[in-house]
């Protein structure tokens, strides 16, 4: 089973539209593949909170699997078959794993925590073929989605508006998607030294661990002291915790430092309004690289195309081909 998560830079970035689009594309080429759809929390509210317009819902084709809160199946009698009840005590709500028998317009509301999603994956795997596809309508604030055991790939939806803060946020979003993976050697050394509770790991130029922290990294004073002590020479800092504003500012001058974030969601914790004007000298790379499938762009204004990560397919479902609009 392959799991793809859909993540948007903002509300209204067109995440559900992208999910619908990919689902349709997969549906047309599915052959015997099983497809299952779910959402982190609720998806498919009728009306957009901000704009007051109708939002796209999920149209399920017959023979598609889904996971949703049972309350959304109240008026769908006869249109689906129940495959599993995913309820208490393992889950906080009563979710149903089912298969559509007819076309259904369904509100998806799946489990909302890493443990629940892991449980779901374990339970539904026997029902989907090995090459079955699990599509999750995700959310950027759910860091667990970035874990390799949860998502095999991502579809990102990025919104560009003329609001400066929003624009900056989306630029950061694209920068995050362009972050390179750390070298194989560094990856190997970190993986070897990593323990369940490890939040930070500082390695010297010769990859010798000099500090392993279990405290929340933004409050880890020892970590800062160690960084100050060795950061004039080349060194590597692995972080499994948010790259907060204060940490970002603290690390900014260390030009010999390579910061290795556990996953991409940690980069997005830097509040964009604060790091403008700071020259961040360390190189940032990722321990778990972002397997990006496609970036969907929704634009109300132009943006710098070079921000798009190389060799990643970018699409604009709302305008003509992305390249065309950007060359304008």
């Amino acid at each position: 089973m392959i799991t793809y998560s859909f993540i948007g830079s903002d509300k209204n970035a067109g995440k559900t539209t992208a999910l619908n689009y990919i689902y349709r594309e997969l549906q047309q080429n599915r052959q015997s593949r099983s497809i299952c759809l779910s959402s982190i929390g609720i998806n498919g509210e009728d009306v957009d909170t901000y704009e007051g317009v109708k939002k796209p819902h999920i149209d399920l084709f017959p023979d598609s699997c889904f996971i949703t809160n049972c309350v959304h199946l109240a008026h769908q009698t006869g249109k689906y078959e129940t495959l599993l009840n995913l309820g208490r005590p393992l889950f906080t709500k009563n979710y149903i794993f089912g298969r559509s028998l007819l076309e259904m317009q369904l509100v998806l509301e799946g489990p909302n925590s890493g443990n629940e999603v892991r449980n779901v994956k374990r339970r539904i795997a026997p029902f989907l073929s090995d090459d079955g596809i699990f599509l999750i309508d995700g959310s950027i604030d759910r860091q667990f989605l970035a874990k390799p055991e949860i998502s095999d790939g991502f579809y990102f939806s990025v919104l560009f508006t003329e609001r400066p803060q929003q624009f900056q946020k989306s630029c950061d979003f694209l920068r995050m998607l362009s972050l390179a993976p750390c070298s194989k050697q560094v990856h190997r050394i970190i993986a070897k030294n990593l323990e369940t509770k490890t939040k930070s790991l500082l390695l010297t130029e010769s990859y010798r661990p000099v500090y392993q922290g279990e405290a929340i990294i933004s409050r880890d004073r020892k970590l800062r002291k160690q960084c100050e002590a060795i950061s004039r020479t080349k060194c590597f800092l692995y972080l499994k915790g948010a790259l907060t504003r204060s940490l970002y500012e603290f690390l900014a001058p260390f030009s010999e430092l390579q910061v290795i974030l556990d996953n991409f969601t940690l980069y997005l914790n830097i509040p964009t309004s604060h790091h403008q004007g700071i020259e961040f000298k360390p190189k940032i790379v990722l321990f778990h690289p972002v397997p990006v499938k496609t970036i969907f762009i929704k634009q109300e204004t132009d943006f710098d195309l070079s921000l798009l990560p190389p060799e990643v397919l970018a699409r604009n479902l709302f305008r003509t081909l992305l390249q065309k609009s950007c060359h304008k």
Binding site: K79, T82, N85, G87, T320, S325
Partner: protein
């Protein structure tokens, strides 16, 4: 699954005696028992609880319990839908779990032939299963559709296909007309030149509207697509009506059976807990208490579970035979007197909670009230003294049949007054309908009549000498056994110098040790 004692009933020894470790034995994969909260039962409740448990154990066929527990673990919890069955508000997805419950329960019932659960309500239970089987298909996962619904479903599928074809054609026409590749139902925002705007304006299939610097292109649906959409909506609505009707019929048949099923479910949950209790009892060689009409407590091979886990085979089980009245326990320091009290206390509280006991046999009267007084250091915050706390303990109302356990009786005050108070209290308890067990070092207590005297067996002096001053090895040589005190031994207790001898085993300063030796020698010669 979690098993815990209701917080307000957790005693001050909850952590020390490791109740949680003992309770963890009962944590198993039994979905019906997501949370078991234990609280003390009243006497009648406890007596019937253990009688029922013992009765079930007798009826169970040997070797069946594991299979029964395994099958019980397949039953899904249904708490949330019991009311829905009664009120006739079941939805399709409820039928799956209800059906699975009943199906798996039928298999479980076949394993319970020797001890059937609630035979009176089995007819209703079976009827409920029949109704579900009649209205559902594919192991309760889908609603069984009647002829009309089937016909509508087929028409709906065909209508879907027709609509899909029409939409494809519609998209193709747009492409041919404007060169735009549109995917219905998504609109597009485009930056357009004049010519393109004109071409889209001329296309009847699209609408176009200027928004800031771009154009919003949306669809002007054809009559044909509208007609097909309406047809599909009508069929879909009709199908929904038929399904709702069918669901209503099903609910109408289930609802009268709801009350009886609720009772059955409750009994099934209780029975599952009983199986868990008996399973642990069997696996861990525990015992069920036997209640006596008279007052007394007889334990064979009892132990503190946490202590046994830590010490394994080094944990010496406790045998205890005490009757109503006062029982006084003597013994050297570190001989295990306090552990005796704690073991008894632990077992008595487990009886109150309805659990099997860590013992080979336990015959006793039901512990309606259990009070334990351990040596207290006092508390400067509450301005309470050790002596004051001990007096307050004995000032409490103790009902008939109460188990009163007290460690180092009145050692909290000066020895002269401590002896007097001890004598008064023990004499009072000697004639009471209570079970009083205390430990003491005061030899004067030996003179009291009508009390039972025990002492902890002394360690072998040779082994003791080998232990040196190592506290751990010293403990290893303690027999931890209660033995009755004979008349001859009473004199030995009166002249007991064991604490002095034990002190010599420790690395005390040389002058102190010398003084102890002189004292021992003087005492011995005199």
């Amino acid at each position: 699954m979690k098993v815990e004692i209701l917080r307000k009933h957790r005693n001050e020894l909850y952590d020390e005696l490791d109740y949680e470790l003992f309770l963890s034995l009962f944590v198993q994969n039994q979905p019906l028992l997501s949370s078991v909260i234990l609280r003390p039962m009243d006497e009648n409740g406890a007596v019937s609880h253990y009688a029922e448990l013992a009765g079930l154990e007798q009826k169970l066929q040997p070797g069946k319990l594991d299979k029964i527990l395994e099958q019980s673990s397949t039953l899904p919890p249904l708490e949330h839908l019991l009311t829905l069955v009664e009120r006739g508000q079941l939805e399709q997805y409820h039928l799956f779990e209800l059906g699975n419950f009943l199906n798996n329960d039928s298999i479980l019932r076949s394993l319970e032939e020797s001890c059937p659960l609630d035979p009176e309500s089995s007819l209703d239970r079976d009827q409920l299963l029949l109704v579900l089987e009649e209205y559902t298909e594919k192991s309760f996962s889908t609603i069984r559709v009647n002829k009309e619904a089937k016909k509508t479903k087929t028409a709906l599928t065909e209508s879907d296909k027709e609509l899909e074809e029409a939409v494809k054609e519609f998209e193709q026409q747009i492409f041919e007309c404007t060169g735009l590749k549109m995917t219905y139902p998504w609109p597009k925002e485009l930056a357009l030149g004049k010519e393109q705007v004109t071409s889209i304006n001329d296309c009847d299939l699209l609408t176009i509207e200027k928004r800031n610097d771009i154009w919003l292109i949306d669809y002007n649906i054809t009559l044909d697509i509208n007609r097909l959409q309406s047809k599909k909506n009508e069929l879909s609505a009709h199908f929904d009506t038929l399904m709702q009707k069918q669901l209503k019929q099903l609910n109408g048949e289930c609802s009268p059976l709801g009350h009886s099923f609720r009772n059955y479910y409750r009994k099934r949950v209780k029975r599952t807990w009983f199986y868990v209790l008996l399973g642990v009892k069997e696996r861990k060689s525990l015992c069920l208490p036997e209640f006596t009409s008279g007052y007394g407590c007889h334990l064979k091979d009892s132990y503190l579970y946490g202590l046994k886990v830590r010490k394994e085979e080094k944990c010496i089980p406790l045998d205890l035979d005490i009757e109503k009245g006062a029982t006084v326990l003597y013994g050297a320091n570190m001989s295990g007197k306090t552990t005796v009290l704690k073991t008894l206390y632990f077992l008595l509280t487990l009886v109150q909670l309805g659990l099997p006991l860590p013992a080979r046999k336990a015959v006793l009267h039901y512990p309606k009230q259990v009070a334990l007084m351990l040596k207290s250091p006092g508390d400067v915050r509450t301005n309470s003294s050790t002596y004051g706390e001990e007096l307050a303990f004995f000032a409490k109302q103790m009902e008939e049949g109460a188990y009163i356990l007290s460690d180092e009786l009145f050692l909290s005050t000066d020895p002269a007054n401590g002896v007097i108070l001890s004598k008064i209290l023990i004499r009072s308890m000697a004639g009471a309908d209570k079970l009083f067990l205390c430990t003491t070092h005061y030899p004067e207590i030996l003179d009291i009549e009508n009390i039972t005297l025990f002492r902890m067996e002394d360690p072998d002096p040779l082994l003791l000498a080998k232990s040196g001053s190592n506290l751990q090895s010293l403990r290893n040589f303690m027999p931890y056994k209660l033995i009755p005190i004979t008349d001859r031994e009473q004199e030995k207790i009166r002249t007991n110098r064991a604490p002095l001898e034990t002190a010599l085993l420790f690395d005390l300063p040389r002058d102190i040790k010398e003084a102890i030796r002189k004292h021992l020698a003087g005492t011995t010669s005199s």
